[in-house]
């Protein structure tokens, strides 16, 4: 112990502390009412993954139903509408759960909460109480979703389109809408917290353009969360008034306009797509640079393209409504803007590829997911350009082509990015290493299963198979069967991931401080981090300077090269951690 040289703010040579954020205090209440961003992040992770499992089971039910043209689980034909009520409910819950409880809060809530303050070298987010409240609101929102199922279910699809959502005899719509309202506020408060944290708690020396790109992505996400979510709030509130009091704003019987609902809904829900995808893009920037062992290519362009996506993302909502009675002029403008948003997305992808070019690529599990992301997101993004084209969209609107497109973006983009992030930060969060071979195998399984599920959906969609149907014409049977087989492969792969991750908690190898050789600040903090993160603001350098980081056989992890000594601040007389040892 005495041999340890003071290496302020780096800590690579330190053994793991006995006192970390997991062991700092004990008891269930010390978790439920914690103000520690790391614990809140872990609780988010557990909740989001639970919701993901529930949504996944519903996806399996949907795919199993579609194994037969008349429906396998709930058989019927077009004349027997009642036979398909259960299918409609499962299909709605799958969408609502996955969007509002997994994709939107997933990366910011779980990984953002855990990593953001440490990446900044801060002790916590700006408003720890508000952060805890966000999580509690998330739970309340989830409780209302469960209540909606108990009170008669929802069969509107996750979009709650009026007039159907007003007149459906499923009694759970207003409860689900209220759940979405609460989840919206959870999302707003998380975003507000992150914006203030990034503005006000950056350590000295970390300028905007020295922030890790994950923080830029989270910042752009938070801007959308704060500026778009209130509109969703008022929209679902209107829907609740409509159902309970017949307020008439969206009801043509009383002079209202149902299309106005679609405008309001998509004014939020299209930017929400970028709430989902931007954090995943931030993870890509970290993972690809780290595992290519190269400085990120085009730092400023990646950073600013996040903000550009956030800004343009507000102006494209009308592309969800091309055939729904907009004027040709408006359709044309929205079509143009939709294609415009592809430019900053493509800038990112090309910069990631340029980062990998001539890099020494290490195909660890997070990097496997990053490569899947590049492939799947490219397909998802480009099919989005097809759908943004007016004449093509008239043919493809509300078909399985749309379903496949947004799954390529939402799953192939966001969920794959989320998985990359979980695998990347798992050693930091838990202090344990998972089984690398199983990790790669599961990634391959997810990749193959996913493509097998959704490539057939592109084909049958372009052949005219409408989305959301519980039964179909026998001509689409082979595509549906292939799709279902792919879904099963995905489900099995996810179970494998759950098994080896849980296994690593009990018998995984102890994680070193910096297992991957990344240069951002969270990797200079112990694994798992101590309660206070940093006693002093740490030394800030270039977050992608991998040259100064070398592998140390003794520790099984990476350390900063001793020959490159960072300047110590004059107010740091001793190592912040040594006095605790």
């Amino acid at each position: 112990m005495t041999a340890i040289t003071p290496d302020f703010g780096r800590g690579e040579l330190l053994p793991p502390l006995e006192d970390n954020y997991l062991t700092h205090s004990r008891g269930i209440l010390s978790w439920i009412f914690t103000l520690d961003h790391k614990r809140i992040g872990v609780m988010y992770l557990v909740s989001v993954l639970t919701a993901f499992f529930a949504g996944g089971v519903m996806a399996m039910l949907i795919r199993t139903q579609l194994l037969k043209s008349g429906g396998l689980i709930w058989p019927g034909d077009a004349q027997q509408h009642n036979a398909f009520k259960a299918y409609n409910e499962v299909m709605t819950l799958h969408g609502a759960l996955m969007v509002f409880m997994v994709l939107i809060p997933g990366i910011p809530g779980a990984l953002g909460n855990f990593v953001l303050p440490i990446m900044l070298g801060a002790k916590d987010v700006a408003f720890p109480r508000l952060n805890l409240m966000s999580y509690h609101l998330y739970l309340w929102g989830a409780a209302f979703a469960v209540l909606a199922i108990v009170m008669g279910g929802v069969d509107t699809g996750w979009t709650f389109y009026t007039p159907y959502s007003v007149k459906t005899d499923f009694g759970g719509v207003e409860y689900m809408a209220f759940g979405v309202f609460i989840l919206g506020f959870s999302s707003i408060f998380t975003g507000l917290n992150f914006i203030v944290t990034i503005h006000k708690l950056r350590p000295p020396g970390m300028t905007w353009f020295r922030m890790p790109l994950f923080l830029w992505a989270i910042y752009a996400t938070a801007l959308i969360q704060v500026l778009a979510t209130p509109v969703l709030g008022i929209t679902v509130l209107f829907l609740i008034f409509e159902r309970t009091m017949h307020i008439g704003i969206f009801d043509s019987r009383y002079g209202g306009d149902p299309i106005l609902f679609q405008h309001f809904f998509w004014f939020y829900s299209h930017p929400a797509v970028y709430i989902m995808i931007l954090p995943a893009m931030g993870i890509m920037s970290e993972v690809i640079s780290t595992f290519s062992r190269r400085h990120i290519f085009g730092y400023k362009l990646i950073a600013l393209s996040s903000v550009a996506i956030a800004a343009i993302g507000f102006l494209v909502w009308g592309h969800h409504m091309f055939p729904n009675g907009q004027s040709t002029m408006i359709d044309t403008i929205f079509s143009f803007l939709t294609m415009f948003v592809a430019i900053p997305s493509a800038i990112k992808v090309w910069n990631w590829l340029a980062t990998m070019y001539h890099g020494s690529i290490d195909m660890k599990t997070p990097m496997c997911y990053a490569c899947s992301f590049l492939f799947l997101f490219a397909i998802g993004g480009l099919t989005g350009v097809f759908l943004g084209t007016l004449s093509v969209d008239v043919h493809l609107h509300d078909t399985y082509f749309v379903v496949a497109h947004f799954h390529y973006v939402m799953f192939g983009g966001t969920m794959i990015g989320f998985l990359a992030g979980i695998h990347y930060w798992w050693p930091k969060m838990t202090g344990k290493m998972y089984n690398e071979s199983l990790g790669r195998l599961a990634c391959l399984g997810v990749f193959i299963g996913f493509n097998l599920t959704f490539i057939p959906q592109f084909i049958m969609g372009s052949n005219g198979m409408p989305r959301r149907y519980a039964s179909f014409d026998p001509m689409y049977l082979p595509y549906h069967q292939l799709s279902t087989i792919g879904a099963y492969i995905q489900f099995a792969s996810f179970l494998l991931i759950a098994v080896y991750l849980v296994h690593s908690l009990y018998s995984g190898k102890k994680a070193p401080v910096n297992p991957w050789g990344a240069a951002t600040l969270e990797w200079s903090c112990c694994s798992p981090p101590p309660h206070d993160n940093f006693k002093f603001p740490p030394q800030v350098g270039d977050p992608y300077d991998h040259d100064a980081i070398v592998f140390d056989e003794r520790l099984g992890g990476y350390v900063r090269d001793e020959s490159i000594v960072p300047e110590l601040p004059s107010n740091a007389p001793h190592h912040p951690l040594t006095h605790e040892l």
Binding site: V125, P128, L130, M133, V196, V231, H246, G248, R253, G256
Partner: protein, 314 residues
């Protein structure tokens, strides 16, 4: 707003410091700046929450101007004006309260906060009177719209029910005509009285408004709970427009949501009032007073927009 009470954090050194500095901030200034940015962002979300309502208002007013010109006659302008003054005055007391907190004038701060809450009660009281009249007279939204007072000759229940049935029959007939037109590719013509007839519901020009009826006596009567019968009949000539209930949908959602925000603001002010009586605020630490003050001003500001948009249409 929540930064205020973070001193009881489990890893804080325990004793209260005059700056109420939370453990994760370096300086009181950093804490104040963070809170200020946070509250401004929160106010942005409040504006955006109301923006949906303003959008709905704009869309429907552009599409159905006659509905707004007609139905706003049911609102009580003098009461709305009094409420505007009450809220403006409460903004003054609130802003003054922030100054009192900064100067450490404890008793003045407590008094001003109490006065602000009192204004909030005053506003809600007047709003309650307005709502009660509307509920009594059936001046409500959607299916509940059934006003006692209508322009033209007084009509009894039977007449109105008969008219409703007739309008419904015409609507059905028109829908059938549209279907037939779509099938046979011909142009459907709407029955009279169903479609918005520009000439019929044109905004009242100076020729047909009887300004003589707006006497001081008439204005005084607005302050009482019941309106003089026939006042709408005197200001609106011709039949009432179709879908007049739409105005009341928007009126009740906008003012109702604003009322909820007034109540939330009053609860926040009550919270800092209690803290002020304990002498927690002074030149070193007045963050919550400042932030709650900003919130109260935004609630006031929203009303400043609601009042002319709803009450002062013509």
């Amino acid at each position: 707003m929540s930064t205020a009470a973070e001193t009881h954090d489990d890893h804080h050194d325990g004793h209260q410091d005059p700056y109420h500095l939370a453990h994760h901030f370096d300086t009181p200034q950093q804490q104040f700046d963070a809170g200020k940015l946070g509250i401004w962002l929160f106010l942005t979300t409040e504006i955006l929450l109301f923006s949906g309502l303003f959008c709905a208002y704009a869309v429907y007013r552009a599409n159905h101007p006659e509905v707004f010109e007609f139905a706003h006659l049911y609102l009580n302008k003098p009461l709305g004006a009094i409420n505007t003054v009450v809220l403006l005055f409460s903004s003054l007391t609130m802003a003054w309260g922030v100054r009192a907190a900064q100067l450490g004038q404890k008793n003045l701060l407590v008094g001003l906060l109490a006065l602000t809450i009192l204004c909030g009660f005053g506003f809600l009281g007047i709003k309650f009177v307005e709502y009660r009249v509307k509920f009594q007279n059936g001046e409500l939204w959607g299916p509940h719209y059934n006003p006692k007072e209508m322009p033209g000759a007084a009509k009894d229940e039977d007449d109105r029910a008969k008219e409703d049935r007739q309008r419904e029959a015409e609507r059905k007939k028109h829908e059938e005509a549209i279907t037939v037109a779509a099938l046979t590719n011909t142009v459907a013509t709407a029955p009279a009285g169903y479609h918005y007839d520009q000439s019929k519901y044109a905004p009242a020009s100076s020729d047909n408004v009887d300004f003589a009826s707006i006497s001081p006596e008439w204005v005084r009567q607005q302050g009482s709970d019941t309106k003089p019968p026939g006042s709408i009949a005197e200001t609106w000539h011709g039949d009432p427009p179709v879908n007049a209930q739409l105005f009341f949908s928007i009126y009740f959602v906008m003012t109702g949501l604003h009322g909820l925000h007034v109540i939330a603001g009053m609860i926040c002010i009550a919270w800092i009032l209690i803290r002020a009586t304990k002498g927690e605020f002074g030149p070193h630490y007045f963050n919550p007073v400042d932030f709650v003050g900003l919130y109260w001003h935004i609630v006031d500001l929203i009303w400043i927009f609601l009042f002319p948009l709803l009450y002062l249409i013509t």
